[in-house]
């Protein structure tokens, strides 16, 4: 049962930094040309020289206000868009420069989870069809294997197998995001990019999904790139935090470092925006 998620190898324990990096981004630039009717039109620099490194089994959170280039970064890393300049090294291979055939093989190892699970799951399909889509596209598995894989994936993300025949529209937001995660795990990716994956959910569900992500990280050794505007969630999930502003990474450091000694104005603003309890909670009764 090579494909079974439960038998996935745990490749690295969280936090080990003496291994070669899983992902290394160097000087990434993405430039959108806005064509206009008259004249040359203007250019929009969505990414302006972004560099960072992610080690296997760790989580890097990318935090920034909207329009800072976070989602463009996610699209470039997931090979959905090609960067204007720069390199993306994934397991030592440059996925920007590599030829299409190799990229096709590398691509499934980097999976993207979208912000709105309502639009990332085709509403015309059933849960089972959605879950098996990546496996069907690989064309390597028999019917029986796929069935087993589906049930182990559902179990892993805590979804009841009773859902499989229903459309995703009958699922709650949290259940949908669990389904999206299960689908992304089907191809045993090494890197999961979570593009605002918790932002569309309400608080208690956010916490549940966040815990699921941590659980998956410890059991499967997943590596996350967690893109968010919520600094609190970033601190909860991430080992390292990169703060982005206007297409640049303005501050990069461990979670504690960012919390305790914010250097850049954007970071301070994000910190100030965090909701704070003004009163201590009453002590629990003895």
């Amino acid at each position: 049962m090579r494909f079974r998620v439960s038998s996935m190898k745990v490749e690295a324990s969280a936090g080990s930094q003496n291994m070669p990096p899983l992902l290394k981004v160097e000087n990434l630039v993405k430039c959108y040309a806005r064509r206009s009717l008259v004249g040359r039109g203007e250019e929009l620099l969505a990414l302006n020289g972004v560099s960072f490194t992610v080690f296997p089994g760790t989580t890097l959170a990318v935090v920034g206000e909207s329009g800072s280039g976070k989602s463009t970064l996610a699209s470039c890393l997931a090979c959905l868009e090609s960067p204007t300049a720069g390199n993306i090294w994934f397991e030592g291979k440059d996925i920007v420069k590599v030829e299409e055939r190799v990229r096709r093989q590398l691509r499934p190892q980097i999976q993207l989870i979208f912000q709105d699970p309502a639009s990332s799951l085709n509403p015309r399909w059933s849960v089972l069809e959605i879950l098996l889509e990546p496996l069907i596209l690989r064309r390597k598995f028999t019917r029986e294997e796929m069935k087993q894989c589906a049930s182990s994936l559902l179990e892993r993300v805590g979804l009841s197998p009773d859902f499989v025949e229903r459309p995703p529209t009958e699922l709650s937001g949290g259940q949908r995001q669990r389904l999206a995660i299960a689908r992304a795990l089907a191809l045993q990716p090494k890197l999961l990019i979570l593009d605002e994956a918790l932002s569309a959910l309400d608080c208690s569900v956010q916490a549940q999904i966040a815990n699921l992500l941590r659980e998956l990280q410890s059991s499967l050794g997943m590596t996350y790139l967690f893109i968010t505007h919520d600094l609190a969630m970033a601190v909860y999930l991430a080992d390292e935090i990169a703060v982005m502003s206007r297409g640049r990474i303005v501050e990069l450091g461990s979670a504690e470092q960012i919390l305790d000694q914010p250097q850049h104005e954007t970071t301070r603003q994000l910190l100030r925006a965090l909701p704070r309890m003004t009163r201590a909670l009453p002590a629990p009764e003895q």
Partner: protein, 349 residues
């Protein structure tokens, strides 16, 4: 729920009408080209249940028509003898659905011919011609709409999905086609071709031209749907699993165009039936003696017919429910689309 019910209602109406047209041989009492030279321009016969003596009959009957004295075109009912309407009786030979040879007809008269919608200049039964003419006109409409939708769908999908210069090129051509005065184009094309063509040739010619001319609007609509569908997250996700362009189009993007296609079909079919009628009415379509809805009405071009024989209008009246049916279907498709959108916005966040 209400929308679904009106939708079902229109579907039933159209189903019955199309069923009658498809099985024209069975529902029509006579052969559409059979002439009854003794009775040209006979007015419609009325169905009676009460006879001249006030007796009630269980079976509906008609009275034979005779010329009124000292008149040459006024008819009156000969009330001496009622002719009951017989059901499921043997009559003219026909082929059901084009292959099944049968002689059974739904209704008819035994000693007299029954003309429900009167007769034309050659004494041909207008009711039979209406049903058989529907076969030509409706089939032309369906086939023409099918060709148009296929062309429009393919071009729209290519333009929307691949974008770039293909999109620009195809959409400029589409605009050109939208700007063409296509009725005059049809005239010109028809004038260019030999005057005497066989009915079958004429039929396929009309359908081909109709089909090839109208693709621009559906193409633009499909393009719009494809443009928005290809940016949906589930398409991007599938791309991330290594999906090919063909797979994305087939499994994710083209299914999104189905409601546009259905609505367009419901609009295009009656439009093309009307176009066929226009051509046949002007004598450029399917030639006599083969009936079509257009040349059924072409008798009305003569002033004398227009003022003297009011029943020649009846076929036009009989076509109204057909067009209304398609209109209703189109609008309920549209409403249903809107409901679906609202529902998915509410339930799908």
């Amino acid at each position: 729920m209400r929308v679904r019910r009106t939708f079902a209602k229109w579907l039933v109406v159209l189903g019955v009408l199309h069923g009658m047209v498809v099985c024209a041989g069975f529902f029509a009492p006579y052969d559409p080209v059979e002439q009854d030279r003794q009775s040209p321009y006979l007015p419609p016969m009325r169905l009676h249940l009460l006879d001249a003596h006030g007796h009630l009959h269980v079976r509906p009957f008609v009275y034979a028509l005779r010329l009124r004295e000292s008149s040459f075109d006024q008819f009156e009912e000969d009330t001496t003898e009622p002719h009951p309407v017989k059901f499921f009786l043997r009559g003219a030979r026909y082929r059901l659905l084009g292959f099944l040879p049968l002689r059974m007809h739904f209704f008819g008269g035994e000693n007299t011919r029954i003309y429900l919608l009167g007769t034309d200049a050659y004494g041909r039964d207008q009711f039979s011609r209406l049903l058989f003419g529907g076969q030509v006109s409706l089939f032309a409409g369906l086939l023409g709409a099918g060709v148009t939708l296929f062309i429009g769908w393919s071009i729209g999908a290519v333009a929307g999905y691949y974008g770039g210069w293909r999109d620009s090129l195809l959409m400029r051509v589409a605009e050109l086609f939208l700007a063409l005065p296509w009725l005059y184009l049809l005239f010109a094309l028809r004038a260019f071709l030999p005057l005497a063509v066989s009915p079958l040739e004429a039929f396929f010619l009309i359908t081909a031209v109709l089909g090839a001319v109208g693709w621009a609007r559906p193409a633009r609509l499909v393009r719009g749907v494809v443009l928005s569908a290809k940016e949906r997250d589930f398409v991007r996700a599938a791309r991330g699993f290594g999906a090919s362009n063909g797979y994305l189009l087939r499994r994710h993007i083209l299914p999104e165009t189905s409601s546009v296609l259905l609505t367009q079909a419901a609009i295009l079919i009656p439009q093309y039936v009307l176009a066929e009628m226009t051509l046949s009415f002007l004598g450029l379509g399917v030639p006599e003696p083969v009936p079509s809805w257009g040349n059924l009405l072409s008798g009305l071009q003569q002033y004398s017919v227009l003022v003297s024989y009011w029943w020649m209008y009846l076929p036009a009246l009989a076509m109204v429910p057909f067009f209304l049916g398609y209109l209703g279907l189109a609008s309920s498709f549209e409403e249903r689309g809107a409901v679906y959108k609202i529902e998915s916005r509410i339930w799908g966040m």
